[in-house]
Amino acid sequence: MHISDGIIDTGICIAANVAALGLVWISGRKTLPEDVPRTGMTASALFVASLIHFPIAGTSVHLGLLGVAGVLLGRRAFPAIFAALLFQTLIFQHGGLITLGVNAINMGAGAFLAWVVWRIKAINDNIRAFLAGMVGIIVPMLLMVAEFRLSGYGSRIVYLMGVYLLLAIIEGVITLAAVRFFRRVKPDMLNLT
């Protein structure tokens, strides 16, 4: 789900990079010391997650764990996502530095909306977690498709939305598993956002 360099207009990418740095500053500003280990560990999980890929229908999609990031970190998810993407680019050559901002904003939006869904207490806990996981994939996917179409790229991309929906279901299950795991092992982590 990472967008490589050379696909989206460079001017937009640079603007997105600046915006992303601004978002890191805004969401990281009021971080308390006790939030920091959680942010670091989530960033590590996000970093590892992109390695785990599923070859489906001739292409390959990878886990994002953005639902988990949204549930655990809420508004503070953006710095973790930015850091994970930065290291993925530098070390795995996955994505690009120019498109770092665009990717971060896409995924940040996914994590943020996953958090919003998670906060709707009216729904049953398990369903909330599953939906948060799905939103964490579907929102970045929609943003990515919109960006591709605006750049005139990716004629095949619409057909791949089905594959991403499948991935969204898998992520929903993983987020549900994560929430149940934390509820059993350390419930405090779920109430901190």
């Binding site: 990472h2 696909i7 920091v36 560990m41 999980a45 070859p55 996955h94």
Partner: protein, 223 residues
Amino acid sequence: MSFHKVPFGSFRLQLALSGQTMITNTQSRLYRQALNTFYTMPKFISILIISLFTLNTSVFGHSIQVEIARHAPVVSVKASYSPTSPLAGVGVNIYAPEEDQPYQTGHTDRQGYFVFHPTTSGSWIFEIDDQHGHKKRTTISIDENFIKGVAKAQESLEEKEEELSGTTVKGQKKPAVPSITEKTTSIADMPIIYKLILGLALIFGITGIYYGMSSRKSLKKRD
């Protein structure tokens, strides 16, 4: 709470160096919260990784990997996501040196191979794009001898490299994993497990430094 009850070695050392014999409630709370987080998340990550490993052994790796094989005068490129998932039927553009328009366009075959025949020396560019966000441009340098179909020029280059690195036995197979003594000059050439450890180490390190700095700030405020 006296610091003898603090099991973490480096934390005890830090306290001892700063002359503290008792830790404050705030320090104790911060320390316990950090420990709890560090103990919980790795369990979750490892459960996730192990369960996925049982489903699919080639689970790691995702960006486009390109292997270039030179068979003078022709170059064969294999593109894949991982050793078991080739990029089949994906669009390729070949650019001749110093040209903006593609010299050749085509698609990879079922095993991810694409072959082209360069006719001028210089840096040729192989560009592959799977139309869903993954694009890769690789530069392939071609010299005059390659175009003439002389494979010997490539071989003598390899012999020189072996002499320089100290392996003088000819005909011996190079190890599949780059050993530490070989010139692995870039991060891209490292095996994936080393890259993973490097990335995690960087994240943990930066998190730890930031945590230390912000804890110190908040402790100063409370004093």
